[in-house]
Symmetry: C2
Subunit: 355 residues, 2 copies
Amino acid sequence: MSAPLEALATPCALVDRARLEANCARFRARAEALGVALRPHLKTAKSVDVARLAGGRGIAVSTLEEARHFAAHGIRDQLYAVGVTPDKLDAVAAIDADVAVLTDDVEVARAIGARATPAWIEIDAGQGRGGLAPDDPRVVACARAIGGALRGVLTHAGHSYACRTIEDVARVAEEERAAAVGAAERVRAAGLACPGVSVGSTPTLAHARSLEGVTEVRAGVYVFFDRFQHAIGSCARDELALSVLASVVSRREDALWIDAGTLALSSERAMDDFGGGYGEVTRPDGAPFAQDLHVDALNQVHGRVVARAGALPALPVGARVRVWPSHACITAAMYDHYEVIEGGRAVARWPRLRG
Amino acid sequence: MSAPLEALATPCALVDRARLEANCARFRARAEALGVALRPHLKTAKSVDVARLAGGRGIAVSTLEEARHFAAHGIRDQLYAVGVTPDKLDAVAAIDADVAVLTDDVEVARAIGARATPAWIEIDAGQGRGGLAPDDPRVVACARAIGGALRGVLTHAGHSYACRTIEDVARVAEEERAAAVGAAERVRAAGLACPGVSVGSTPTLAHARSLEGVTEVRAGVYVFFDRFQHAIGSCARDELALSVLASVVSRREDALWIDAGTLALSSERAMDDFGGGYGEVTRPDGAPFAQDLHVDALNQVHGRVVARAGALPALPVGARVRVWPSHACITAAMYDHYEVIEGGRAVARWPRLRG
């Protein structure tokens, strides 16, 4: 199959295959240069095709639906990287794959240990979400409770998203490394095995200077990148691999309305401190409009496009435009397939898991 | 089937059947008292089961996927209430139902007329999205171009969402009525038939004082309502029919983290001017916590729960809570089914269309 973009029903999610492959290759090379394994986090793409292109050692997932889906497609080494609840352990055990779980809770660790479920201990490297401080005595208590099935300790430097300079990201990456390695050393000092040290986020893998003591790194959004990752310095503009094809449905003096609203773009406002907007709007081939168009308001199935410079271009109802989202993870989640494009044509359709 | 809420996998979308039925009955009665037909907008619920409970005369839909889905379930009278693009007319014609389209563009109206597709003309009653001003000469030009298949004129008073008093909503409802009826009169004064006058939004149907000259009213979110609709006076707190069941996955001094993040709640910030928050958090039975809990931050699969009053309750990892969303249309869109509850137990599972 090969079709011009004009033949696609809008709204739809476009994936630029050449950029996707280049992004995957760049981050594989980054991990290799830092001497660690790469474990792609499939919560962004939720696609077996993307998982195959990404390569790496195993995957991370964010839901049991993802774990089941990738298991059904033969991906065995999985890390369910959200704090597990005891009632989910039966479902984890029923998945035909090697699914390791995550916890920061001693009671839950006991339930995990009783079943010998492979598990990681979550360490907080400064994000303030899940995880124990590296020197919290409960780290060793969890390790003891989990017992022989302990895979290691894990951090996620989600606060790297708040950084606004590459220097700051590199500093957070070092804090993350130090927190994870420090926690592993405490477990080992207690006489327990702690084989794995897992860290990661797209910004910190992009800019970490050393990952000494780390065994693997997780990153997700790098496969597509997005305007936010571009704004904070994780990628170049021409590495963005995900966009939304939309049609003009109404023209006014002051705005164009397109058929891509909240359910096509998501209402993520990750770009608030970069001038806002729900997406940059270009021509279907990716070339910008001289008027610098962006989506500044959303309803469920309508997006409002305004110009930063001059009057709106004279686009008729039915004209196609391309929207470059702020937060690819959530925009992608609005679709059940990707239209894969190459050389300006749609060449494949990849299914995408929802859930 | 009947199961306690504790047996449901989290996160999941709960629909309280008794409240849903009462909401449907209340709005049917409201439309009847105002002397107009009710056309439920199924973009909120995207559920055949909800469509059956809602009753009314025909439905409105927001995507062609919805139109096909409801057609496949025998719902014939449909209004595709988003400005149609010419390339979508083939797809509309292929649907096995009576699907009327919407336009505010004379060129598109000609394409519609050439096919004799049933169509409505969109009038802007002050929202500033799609639609022509009631006195714009293009209203009559569109009517002429559509010809004998013209169904009528249509407004959507989306700006009623910006109202903060019931008095203001009633004023917008009257503006909407006057705009739609005025546009219909202009079409008729030009010697053309304009049988239908369609208006609507949940707030304006809740508070309109007269719909004289209107033939039908559309509303969508009233089947579930939400915290935003409660805040602006469309409903009572105990009419909220949609909520999300979630589990605590991590406990900290200052916050609980639950397994309901952006992909379970959506990142809609409709509540910004009511003190913010992505959802109110109660016990599984709907009883509030004395500490007045709400979700104040979201990641993809994590939500942060904080207390407005006092220290956090001592909930263990795995404890269930119920989250009451700000914007039901978008929260519901995150799910492919509803868990229907009655008397505190899950009694049915209703499929839900995505797309």
